[in-house]
Amino acid sequence: MSNCNCEQPLVPHIVEVIDIVEETPDVKSFYVKSVGGGLPYQVMPGQCSMLSLPVGEGMFSCTWQEGQEYQQYAIKRVGLLTEELHRIEVGQKLGLRGPYGNGFPIETSRGKDMLFIAGGIGLAPLRSFIKHCFKNRSDYGKITIIYGSRSYNDLCFKKELFEEWPSQPDTEVHITIDNPEEIWKGHVGFVPAYVEELAPDPAGKVSVTCGPPIMIKFALQSLQKLGYQDEQIVTTLEMRMKCGIGKCGRCNIGSQYICLDGPVFDLTQLKQLPQEW
């Protein structure tokens, strides 16, 4: 099943885009399958792939669930490659290599209550873990999701956020936007402050945070304030990457390569690393 390109890890497979969904004004989801059909390779929640067009390659978090014949990538338009990706249409062939990285602690989190904290496009990686929890609902306790974006329009995956997830058993979804808007009747304010306001009890919980680096920094501080222990605080890091396989050098923090040893770390591990994230 797995088509890991282990023989030539730097040479991509060719995959086909079978669907494109506009999530927000600057985020699109791309659904890809192997040329000729079928799943390119299995991916654990939190793992990533290198997607490429001739203009360049970039590392993106992948969403895939057992049984699906395709992978999904939610990609924000920020640079050269993502500009190009946002211009392509269904049927476009892309380069794809992976899966890379360690993924989320889905096994060790079993039996725990889950607290997911996300900002902006940071919901994309968490979403694969969230979906995994819902698919294996009895393996996990209460699920709390705290998510925020700059504006209502920037909230990703609205159907899941507002309809699918809140209707799941024993699940709370809390949404906030940075600044007030006429259309928005919900909470206004930054994610870390909202976390403190909601103050989810640390007992029996694993927290998983993903978002822009500045949000992560403050969210981790908020969690510590609320009494979360280092091993209960899980987050993902990102750095510029080129190879994805721990060779090209640039994504290191201390002796760890984010592409290979990460992107998922808990605070116990992060405290052993230089504060360069």
């Binding site: 030539q8 001739p54 390659e57 062939k93 892309l94 510029r240 080129k242 050098g249 504060q275």
Partner: protein, 339 residues
């Protein structure tokens, strides 16, 4: 023991060159480095007596620019038609212990910890290395302080210069035995005394430095040490163990190729993110990254220093940054001082 007479060296190189590309230390124009032993180069001066030539043999296994695969795009179609793993036979003659250690660090990076880099592996598997043991370290040499044994280069064959009597030739690996069999006609059996090793003139004390650096990430010393550095990257290009690379593309219309090329942690673009962030925004962070990688991070991951004490960066640095001074300063400073 087997002895290679000095006047047989060229004939031996000719013989190997019939089967493989042979790289030898030579002076060409203003520079020196490892160049192919071929008709064009044969007349140029062989530098077997020099300690370190200017350019290390790193590029033989890890070229400065390496084409990886061809790309073609037509409309929505995309194809990769050809990959360029190069497995032709190569022999590097006269590698010093520092550069041999650097090659071991490249092996560890490219061939271990989860993934094998197929482009590196194709080259490396088909390279035989003949080391030239050092007995008289130069003024910039400090490999001994970095845990490298100058008289025992980690290579397939070791040659030891005994002076006028020729080189002692010792095969150290299976590849080395194979090469020895190929050149048997140039080797004679004779007993010679090993040359006597002289001591280092550059004094460096790396003992405990990697461990000490673990608590010095935010130390003000970095600011001071980085001050003269202009982030030109010369040290990273001349370094035999620097292995960072970029992946880039060259397209002419619909077709082209993806290649990798040496990159340098000295440049802002190296770690600049598409979203606008950069975890190493100024020269100080980049300087710190380079030296911590050499002296601490690599050690933590692979068990030995990434600096092999070859001294090249000291020679090329236009700003007078000396890694030996850096090591000694770290050794001396009070590590508890924080910003």
């Amino acid at each position: 023991m087997k002895i290679l007479a000095k006047d047989k060296v060229q004939a031996l190189l000719d013989k190997i060159a019939q089967q493989a590309t042979v790289y030898v230390p030579m002076a060409i124009e203003q520079g020196s480095g490892f160049y192919p032993w071929n008709e064009d180069n044969k007349e140029k001066p062989l530098l077997l007596d020099a300690l370190n030539v200017y350019n290390s043999p790193k590029y033989v296994v890890f070229p400065q620019t390496e084409r990886m695969y061809d790309l073609k795009q037509q409309g929505q179609e995309l194809s990769i038609d050809k990959t360029y793993e190069d497995s032709s036979e190569r022999v590097i003659f006269g590698v010093r212990a520092c550069d041999a250690r650097a090659m071991r660090s490249l092996d560890d990076v490219f061939l271990t910890r989860g993934f094998e880099d197929s482009f590196y592996k194709a080259r490396r598997d088909n390279v035989t290395v003949i080391g030239n043991a050092c007995y008289n370290p130069g003024v910039n040499c400090f490999c001994g302080a970095m845990g490298v044994a100058m008289t025992e280069p980690e290579t397939d064959v070791i040659i030891r210069d005994t002076g006028n009597d020729g080189y002692i030739w010792e095969a150290k690996t299976e590849k080395g035995e194979k090469l020895t069999a190929l050149v048997a006609e140039f080797l004679v059996d004779k007993e010679l005394k090993y040359p006597e090793a002289k001591s280092f003139t550059t004094q460096v004390d790396y003992e405990g430095v990697a461990e000490k650096l673990k608590s010095m990430f935010d130390h003000p010393l970095w600011q001071k040490m980085a001050e003269p550095c202009v982030n030109c990257g010369a040290c990273t290009y001349i370094c035999p163990s620097c292995h960072c690379f970029d992946i880039q593309v060259k397209m002419w219309g619909d077709s082209g190729y993806r290649f990798r090329c040496w990159d340098s942690c000295m440049y802002a673009e190296y770690s600049a993110e598409a979203g606008g962030g950069n975890p190493r925004p100024t020269g100080v962070e980049r300087f710190r990254q380079r030296f911590l990688h050499k002296l601490e991070f690599f050690n933590e991951r692979y068990g030995y220093s990434l600096c092999t004490g070859c001294g090249r960066c000291t020679i090329v640095c236009p700003a007078g940054v000396r890694i030996t001074d850096i090591i000694n300063e770290i050794k001396e400073v009070d590590s508890s001082v924080e910003l």
